[in-house]
């Protein structure tokens, strides 16, 4: 079950909507943060706080690409490979992440430091190729630049 603070947080979010159900997406974000990923316990917790059936919670959660359905590394690397990034070399960067950090698309590095998710467009096409590390945008990427960036995330 959630910690008391998380329950409070969800209850506060719930106040922003006329129905409890509408708080589902944000509550799943909270659960993901609290449990690290959407474990069965995470779903059960959301279900019991919002009174939404647990299968429904899971069904909704699995619809969205940004919810994590397996344990994740400490830092989340989200690299865009959509057309604008692709034509400016994003695919090479995918290879680079694999060779340099052992990061496969959808996978986690063996030291648990990073998880990699290949993204559809992240809205940084003018400065492609681009990625998000956790909540931060990094743009005009090169292999060298990626190395520098990832140094900051231990």
């Amino acid at each position: 079950m959630f910690r008391e603070t998380a329950i409070k947080e969800i209850e506060a979010i719930r106040e922003q909507y006329p129905t409890a159900r509408a708080a589902l997406l944000p509550a799943i974000y909270v659960a993901q943060r609290e449990f690290g990923w959407l474990s069965p316990e995470a779903y059960e917790s959301v279900s019991s706080v919002l009174g939404v059936p647990r299968a429904t919670v899971r069904g909704v959660a699995t619809f969205y690409a940004m919810y994590k359905h397996r344990p994740m590394g400490r830092h989340l690397v989200q690299l865009c490979t959509n057309v604008s990034c692709m034509i400016l070399g994003a695919e090479k960067l995918v290879d680079f992440l694999k060779n340099r950090y052992g990061l496969e698309a959808g996978g986690m590095s063996s030291d648990g430091r990073f998880s990699l998710v290949i993204m559809e467009c992240i809205g940084a096409c003018g400065t492609a190729p681009a990625m998000l590390v956790n909540n931060d945008f990094y743009e005009n990427l090169t292999e060298k630049y990626i190395e520098e960036i990832l140094e900051k995330y231990r």
Partner: protein, 420 residues
Amino acid sequence: MERVLLKNIENPESADINEYKKAGGYKGLPKALGMQPREIIDEVKKAGLRGRGGAGFPVAMKWTFASADPKFPKYLLCNADEGEPGTFKDRPILEKNPHILIEGMAISGYALGAEYGYVYLRGEYPGAKDVLNRAIAQAYEQGFLGDNIGGKGVRFHLAVHQGAGAYICGEETALIESLEGDKGQPRIKPPFPVNVGVFSKPTVVNNVETLSNLPYLIEIGGEAYSKIGSPDCPGPKIYCVSGHVERPGVYELPMGTSLKDIIYDHCGGMKAGRKLKAVIPGGISTPVLPPDKIDCPMDFVNMPKHGSMLGSGAVIVMDESVCLVKVCFRALKFFEHESCGKCTPCREGTGWLRKILGRIEHGEGVDGDIELLLSVAGNILGKTFCPLGDGAASVVQNFIKHFRPEFEEHIRAGKCMVNG
């Protein structure tokens, strides 16, 4: 032209309410509050403002429907899902000029009689979420949001709702489903959101850029606004250009600026002087254009006449180094990934198209594959529940239409002409 929507964004503090006010912000709202809601809608009508989310629907018309519905409360939703690949025009507003959006929403809410608003923000913009939340808090503090806006007893409450990675949530009924805590799958229309929208109440969904036009529109009046850019769909427009140009980025220009000028004037032409091969003018769902078809005004009315669409105004420029089979393949991978799965042709067809394209791209194409692609695309087009599936089909059709030899060569040679 002086920038309106992206005014002041070089200022590192541009997202702060005081900077925004210093630069002339929060002038439209007080003026609007001095008008009758009906008058505001009339001004918007005079201005000829069209939605910037992609479809170019006349804003005043949508608003009139919603305000005429007697059900209460009404909702105003800002579509900040910006998922169309190649599009990054709303992000600078959200991250750097959030108050123009908030002011625009407060004006629109007043015009519609909507007391509640949500910004449906794509999950991929976590930074924008923080900026917006801070800006909303400031706007509450200074009385631009709340129960008594401008001391006139006008109510408008605003909150951010974060999406979680689903392109389809940009479609307005899917957005509503998602806001209600469900999967983002489009709803049956009618009823339309203006009558039965979020929480079953009358709802207007407008794009970030659309709503951000309101403060300026009200400030200068509909008449003056209608003189900007294309007479058929006037106003400032943010074009976002990516790919092989010298200066990619966002450009706020009068609506109707020609695609050619955008590429060759504003963006400094092709990168390293290489040769233009293809342009996707309005985001990946819009038909690709070959180099000889780019002399066209980028607006909702003229682009269809030139074989494409304005879409979100996301221009993707590709030079000779690009394999278009690969681009088409990548685009279909996108559609397959983003298909919500509700309807058969899109759910099954996008994957099938992607698989065929993948084979061709990887040198395993066989005779008849192009015809098969066209036939499968034909079985999708016009048969899907929402426009996403149509988009996927038309991408395939247009790439083949303009660049068929490249596909044929892939199949014949079993490899790529461009990248070997």
